[in-house]
């Protein structure tokens, strides 16, 4: 997940906190793929497995998983639970679903 993608605008960087390989985590990662497909290079989502990196969860103050978070803004925005409704997720983070620029 190196954020060394090229692009005119810097992409929106989100973090996806999951806990190990659970059905919920798998669903969240599937949704992540769909979100990335929908937005192309406007969006970047880093996956953080808190079982491997509990200190990252501590620093961010994560209670629930899965959590999708925009921590670049103050206060941070967090979406918890189900991210399968792509339009709703993009709306929550201030991205409008559009056709990916070709």
């Amino acid at each position: 997940m190196d954020p060394v993608q090229s692009g005119a605008r810097p992409p929106l960087g989100l973090r996806l906190y999951v806990a190990g390989d659970t059905p919920g985590a798998r669903r969240a990662i599937e949704s992540r793929e769909r979100l990335l497909d929908a937005c192309g290079n406007r969006l970047d989502i880093e996956v953080i497995d808190i079982l491997a990196r509990p200190d990252a969860a501590e620093a961010a103050g994560i209670l629930a998983t899965p959590t999708l978070a925009d921590e670049a803004i103050q206060p941070p925005r967090r979406l918890i639970g189900d991210f399968s409704n792509i339009a709703q997720v993009l709306d929550f983070f201030g991205l409008r679903k559009e056709d990916t620029p070709s």
Binding site: A19, G24, A57, E58, A64, L79, I80, G81, D82, S84
Partner: protein, 497 residues
């Protein structure tokens, strides 16, 4: 049914909370590896109790602890608990204490669909493993329910998962939960029903315009405990202190050693003085000579080479010293010799449990051989009846346990005869009762003294006339006729006898 996990250790190992009298209530401490819910209304001392549980492990037993806070940020807890003398920052630096700060943060959060609390659990376990914690506090669960207000069932399920994970780690868990009222449901959201092995209730009830803090053990799975509410108080520099009800142990041995009452005649009436570990009540109307008897008692002890402590609730030091001097006893000199310590304060200065604690501290510090309290009636007015009875029980058992000869006074409300409430309470608790009464005989008012009761000893049953002068008390002859010292005090004149 013979699998290993079915075998329950018959004796649960105990984890001391650091609140001594509470540990006694639960037979030595909270069972190791179990979960205890501490419920209470806001301001009842849940966080103090929880922090003390960790503090005691850290400072006295080398058991590191984790504090998971859902309510106050860790920085606030650090500041709030500093007044109890707990160096939270120092413990963190020494890796004896770790915080998991799950207090509400400034964030935009939206919950859609299913989730779990694996994030929280991972953070907790990370903290636990980081310092090798043996104890853990979650304060308070109610806040967690508020955080995920739309998903109560998910929180229940997840909380159960967290609780069992902590149990697997062998941690002794203390969770706090809020209650809506002092006498109602154990906690909001009925948390205790699904996670707790043990339930403890803290109360901060308003009783006749006075706050009365108590602690009660409601349930201890697989273990005995003492039932009922026990008074507690919060002491700066110490934390929570439970005031033990002595009825727990009636194990004081009775000594047969006598000590002087400070009055040779009274010693004769009591067949040789008071017992070493007994409590004597002197009851009488105002001006009958109670404080004089106290003064004699203290001076007699000092003369016998003992140390005496006087707690005065009615008169100032100046008054007490002046009175003593008028009866030929120099308190000032006795204090200078270290034979006497006089402490005077208003009953209203503190709550009853605090008074008891103060007396205990003074006794432990000064180590007196005898202790006088003048008067109990003054204390009675600051407390509800039940509180006063508890106070008396604790006090008398404490006096006996330390093998101190105790003398307490009680003031009758009426000048002649009668009974004060403290008399009713204390008369069964004290070993001896001495009554001082005004007795009218013809046109004269006399003072009469009677030893009403003396446990384990013969005593003079006469009602003796006495006078007070510059040398103190002088017991004279018995009254002729039959004065009724319990109600009216009119005697027929001696001529008719």
């Amino acid at each position: 049914m013979t699998t290993a996990e079915e075998i329950v250790d018959p004796v649960l190992e105990r984890v001391k909370t650091g609140i001594e009298a509470f540990d006694d209530l639960v037979m030595g401490g909270l069972p190791r590896g179990r979960t205890t819910i501490v419920g209470g209304t806001p301001g009842s001392g849940k966080t103090v109790f929880a922090t003390q549980f960790l503090a005691h492990g850290i400072t006295d037993l080398d058991e590191p602890g984790v504090f998971v806070t859902f309510e106050e940020p860790s920085a606030d807890i650090e500041v709030n608990m500093a007044s109890f003398g707990w160096d939270i920052r120092g413990w963190q630096n020494a890796k004896k204490l770790a915080f998991v700060d799950a207090s509400p943060r400034d964030q935009d959060e939206l919950v859609v669909g299913e989730f779990d609390l694996a994030g929280l659990l991972a953070r907790i376990l990370h903290a636990v493993q980081g310092i090798g914690a043996k104890r853990i506090v979650l304060d308070s669960l109610t806040q967690l329910f508020h955080h995920f207000v739309a998903d109560q069932n998910a929180i229940r399920r997840e909380l159960l998962r967290v609780a069992s994970a902590l149990k697997r780690e062998g941690l002794t868990v203390l969770m706090t939960a809020e209650r809506n009222s002092e006498y109602g449901d154990i906690s909001r959201h009925r948390i205790e029903e699904f996670v707790a092995d043990n339930v403890v209730i803290l109360r901060n009830a308003l009783d006749r315009e006075r706050r009365r803090r108590t602690i009660e053990v409601l349930k201890m799975r697989g273990s005995r405990h003492v039932e009922g509410e026990v008074p507690i108080t919060l002491v700066s520099g110490e934390g929570m202190v439970a005031v033990p009800l002595s009825s727990l142990r009636l194990e004081q041995q009775s000594s047969t050693k006598r000590v002087t009452s400070g009055n040779a005649e009274l010693d004769r009436m009591t067949s040789g003085g008071f017992f070493r570990d007994s409590v004597t009540l002197v009851s009488g109307a105002t001006g009958t000579g109670k404080t004089l008897l106290v003064t004699n008692f203290l001076a007699g002890g000092a003369a016998a080479g003992e140390r005496a402590l006087l707690i005065g609730y009615e008169e100032s030091r100046g008054q007490l010293f002046r009175n003593a001097k008028s009866w030929g006893v120099d308190f000032e000199a006795l204090e200078a010799e270290g034979r006497l310590k006089v402490v005077c304060l208003y009953p209203e200065a503190q709550s009853l449990p605090d008074h008891l604690l103060m007396i205990r501290e003074l006794v432990e510090e000064f180590k007196p051989d005898r202790l006088a309290i003048d008067s109990l009636s003054a204390l009675e007015r600051i407390a509800p009846e039940t509180g006063f009875r508890e106070f008396l029980i604790s006090l008398t058992s404490f006096i006996k346990k330390h093998e101190i000869a105790g003398l307490c006074t009680a003031t009758d409300k009426s000048l002649v005869g009668g009974q004060s409430v403290s008399e009713q309470h204390i008369s069964t608790l004290t070993d001896s009762i001495i009554l001082l009464r005004y007795i009218q005989q013809a046109q004269f008012m006399h003072r009469g003294l009677m030893v009403l009761k003396m446990r384990g000893s013969e005593h003079d049953k006469q009602i003796r006339r006495f006078t007070i002068d510059g040398d103190g008390m002088h017991l004279g002859d018995a009254f002729e006729g039959s004065p009724d010292i319990f109600s009216d005090s009119v005697l027929p004149g001696p001529a008719t006898a």
